[in-house]
């Protein structure tokens, strides 16, 4: 029997931990009136909910890709049944299992999107032993077609139609559920609930969410229907499906965009508040530290740290059981390094705000009553800085996702075996010089990255507008 054993990589643990923290924070924020009002403004914003829906879809893909396991190998022979079952050295994720056909149907080399032939001519031996050069048929892409020249367009159109129909069905079910919920919470009949949703009276911007969902489903449906038979985004140099690679890249981008904050946040908040509130030599020391860190050009500091970390990983192969754990360690280390180099901006901002807060009457009053410093910081200063922290976190995310691509290009990003937008772009870059050009992996990586970053940027704007007290 094939079984499996769950594997928890460090980044998985931290990613799910972070998710738990966010849910916990959301739960506790429910009680705070200003927080509820601010999130209410985010929820009522069409742009905000559109971008949030897109982000949540990305997060869902990333989380599914973070459930890792190792397969148990089938024991060889009868005697082996008694021994400890052997584990495969391949660490897979739930996404790999879901997209099993995409992962396993590997062609020889490049093939264009929806192609049934390889992209390059190869020498093929005919039945009579003669050799001629032609575009060989793909092993998997369009393999079901008997006469691909004539049947391809019809088959693709049929699949798109099926996909669209399925998407419409799923959307109707989801929309029905949402409208039903809104109708129930407002205690009105279904039709009135539908009108409330459509006119934006459901509390949240449901209409924007449902429209976004419709748009996404209209793309996902046909792509899924096509992906069972074709390589929708083509294949790369070693014949891997580009659609699969882009889906896997999402997790890497999310990990870098979110886990980095685990380092930035504590450092920036603790040091910024302490420096601003205490002043004196503490302030001098902290300012000195961040001026030093700031003065080193970012890329160089990251490069130096990554190079050194690579030496550590290379000289201690015994720490890692599988290649995935090694790549994961490098990914985590990259997050830590990015965090170490990027906390200074937020720290300076928080220090400046604390300097202002320190002089306010209620803080002065608390100090006059003899409240301890830690308590003042925790109860009176920190809560009034949280909006800045939140805005900075959301704003940083898109920058980090973009930075990963550049760093991977420079050679100081993720492990070359980790699938990420950066490694995809890096691998595809060379192929632009080919004639005719291999453009699909680049375009796929750039489009996915663009949608993710655009959604993050738009969401960050909405969050900033909702939380910044200076905004009207």
């Amino acid at each position: 029997m094939m079984g499996f054993q769950p594997v928890v990589l460090w980044t998985d643990l931290l990613l799910f931990g972070l998710l738990g923290c966010i849910l916990l924070a959301a739960w506790s924020a429910r009680r705070s009136e200003p927080m509820r009002a601010a999130w209410g403004r985010v929820g009522a914003s069409g742009v905000g909910m559109t971008s949030l829906t897109l982000l949540l879809i990305f997060v869902l893909v990333g989380l599914v890709d973070s459930l890792h396991y190792r397969e148990r190998l089938a024991p060889a022979g009868v005697a082996a049944a008694e021994t400890k079952p052997q584990l495969s050295t391949d660490v897979r994720s739930a996404l790999d299992a879901l997209a099993e056909p995409l992962r396993t149907r590997v062609e020889k080399t490049y093939s264009a999107p929806l192609a049934w032939q390889l992209f390059a001519r190869q020498t093929v031996e005919g039945k009579d032993g003669s050799q001629h050069r032609e575009f060989p048929r793909l092993k998997y892409g369009g393999a079901g077609l008997q006469y691909p020249e004539q049947d391809l367009a019809g088959d693709v159109a049929g699949r798109i139609a099926t996909g669209l129909a399925a998407a419409a069905g799923v959307w109707l079910v989801l929309a029905g559920a949402v409208v039903g919920l809104v109708a129930r919470s407002r205690r009105v009949p279904f039709g009135a609930g539908w009108r409330a949703v459509w006119r934006g009276k459901g509390g949240l911007a449901w209409r924007a969410m449902l429209l976004t969902l419709a748009g996404v489903l209209l793309l996902v449906g046909p792509v899924t229907a096509l992906a069972t038979e074709y390589h929708v985004f083509g294949t790369d140099k070693v014949g891997q499906d580009v659609l699969f690679l882009t889906l896997k890249s999402i997790r890497t981008a999310l990990v870098i965009g979110t886990l980095t904050t685990l380092v930035t946040l504590p450092l920036a908040v603790a040091l910024g508040i302490v420096a601003g509130y205490l002043g004196g030599w503490v302030d001098d020391v902290i300012q000195y530290v961040y001026t030093v860190l700031n003065s080193i050009p970012g890329v160089l500091l990251i490069a130096a740290a990554v190079l050194m970390m690579q030496v550590v990983i290379d000289t201690h192969p015994q720490w890692f059981e599988t290649a995935a754990e090694r790549a994961d360690a490098r990914l985590l280390a990259l997050c830590l390094i990015l965090g170490m180099t990027s906390w200074t901006g937020l720290c300076r901002l928080l220090r400046g705000e604390t300097l202002k807060l320190r002089e306010l009457e209620y803080v002065q009053a608390a100090r006059a009553f003899g409240v301890s410093t830690t308590r003042i910081l925790a109860r009176h200063v920190l809560p009034n800085l949280m909006h800045l922290v939140l805005i900075a976190l959301v704003m940083d995310f898109s920058g980090l996702v973009l930075a990963e691509a550049v760093l991977s290009y420079v050679g100081i990003g993720v492990d070359p075996n980790t699938i990420s937008f950066g490694t995809m772009i890096n691998a595809a870059r060379m192929e632009l010089a080919r004639e005719p050009m291999v453009w699909w992996s680049l375009v796929a990586a750039f489009i996915f990255m663009f949608v993710l970053v655009l959604a993050a940027n738009l969401f960050a704007d909405v969050v900033r507008d909702a939380f910044d007290p200076r905004a009207s």
Partner: protein, 325 residues
């Protein structure tokens, strides 16, 4: 003001020492020279003799911070920290792993770096300020709205896309300029046009949006209303009053990067094959040439500190109310 500048100048070496300590810790304490030798020599089973030879050749066979065996001042000077880190203060960077003199490379490669970085910076600043002023001029109209949307979309596109897309379109499809390379003298011009234009376009999104918020804040102030009330046209009010007064927040972000232009751009120089300091750095990173990386870190932080001091000075120039004390 003089006293302030002197104090800032005295603070600079302190920062540089901090930078040096940090890089020293990264390069020599996290990994011992032995680790580095083993990695550079490549093979898993290198002999101790080979490691020793590698260290002697590069001067890594000395103690890290303190040499107990040496005499007098040599106790401190005959160490890796003194030889490799402190000597940078007199611009003695030693030799790269390929044996070339680093200081010499720096001076010859500075030119090409500046040739691409300076035009990109000046043109970029001009274009983004104009674009931001245009958006403010048409504020609260459809033009403004779609302009901001365009900015957000442009800042969401990866910088690599601009480069790759630009190279493909301009050089491969239109055959206007060579795809990459560099020439001596005026010949360099045709190689520089594309990277400069792409650099300017890639930078518009983020900065124009930021300048727009600054200008908008300034344009809502009372003195601008007075200016309009006394009969100035909207354009005059924008250029004569808003632009001048919005200079302070813009200067903070802009002046500090001017000295760093010498460092060039890693990505652009490597994509366009320009033999400047950026591509030098990227080559050093890829070949794990640590002396070069250390030298670039030092130069980079030195230029940043110069930039900070220049920023302070520029404040007093544009705003007489600011007095440095």
């Amino acid at each position: 003001m003089f006293a302030y500048i002197v104090r800032r100048l005295l603070y600079a070496p302190l920062i540089l020492i901090g930078v040096n300590l940090l890089t020293f810790a990264l390069f020599f304490v996290v990994n011992t020279p032995d680790d580095m030798a083993r990695m550079q020599l490549g093979a898993k089973r290198v002999t101790p003799e080979a490691i020793e030879r590698w260290k002697v050749e590069r001067g890594y066979d000395k103690p890290l911070l303190f040499d107990g065996a040496a005499e007098g001042a040599q106790k401190l000077t005959n160490t890796i920290f003194f030889e490799k880190s402190l000597r940078m203060f007199v611009f003695d960077f030693g030799r790269a792993d390929d044996g070339r003199d680093i200081a010499n490379e720096l001076t010859t490669r500075m030119g090409p770096s500046l040739a691409i970085a300076l035009p990109t910076f000046v043109l970029g600043l001009f274009v983004t300020v104009c674009f931001a002023l245009l958006l403010v001029f048409f504020r609260a109209s459809y033009l403004d709205f779609w302009g901001v949307v365009l900015c957000v979309a442009m800042m969401s596109i990866s910088g690599l896309f601009y480069i790759i897309g630009g190279q493909w379109l301009v050089s491969k499809v239109w055959h206007l300029v060579p795809i990459s390379g560099y020439g001596a003298g005026l010949d360099a011009g045709r190689f520089l046009v594309l990277p400069v234009v792409i650099g300017v376009i890639a930078g518009i999104g983020g900065s124009a949006r930021w300048y727009r918020t600054i200008f908008l804040e300034e344009a809502g102030k009372d003195y601008v209303r007075t200016a309009r009330a006394k009969g100035l046209s909207e354009l005059q009010a924008l250029f004569r009053h808003v632009l001048k007064n919005a200079m302070i927040p813009i200067l903070t972000g802009v002046v500090v990067v001017i000295p760093s232009l010498f460092m060039g751009s890693l990505i652009y120089e490597s994509f366009f094959g320009i033999p400047g300091l950026g591509s030098y750095t990227i080559d050093a990173i890829n070949s794990q040439d640590f002396p070069v990386v250390r030298a670039m870190v030092f130069i980079g932080s030195l230029l940043y500190i110069v930039g900070l001091i220049l920023t302070d000075l520029s404040y007093t120039l544009v705003d007489p109310r600011v007095r440095l004390e």
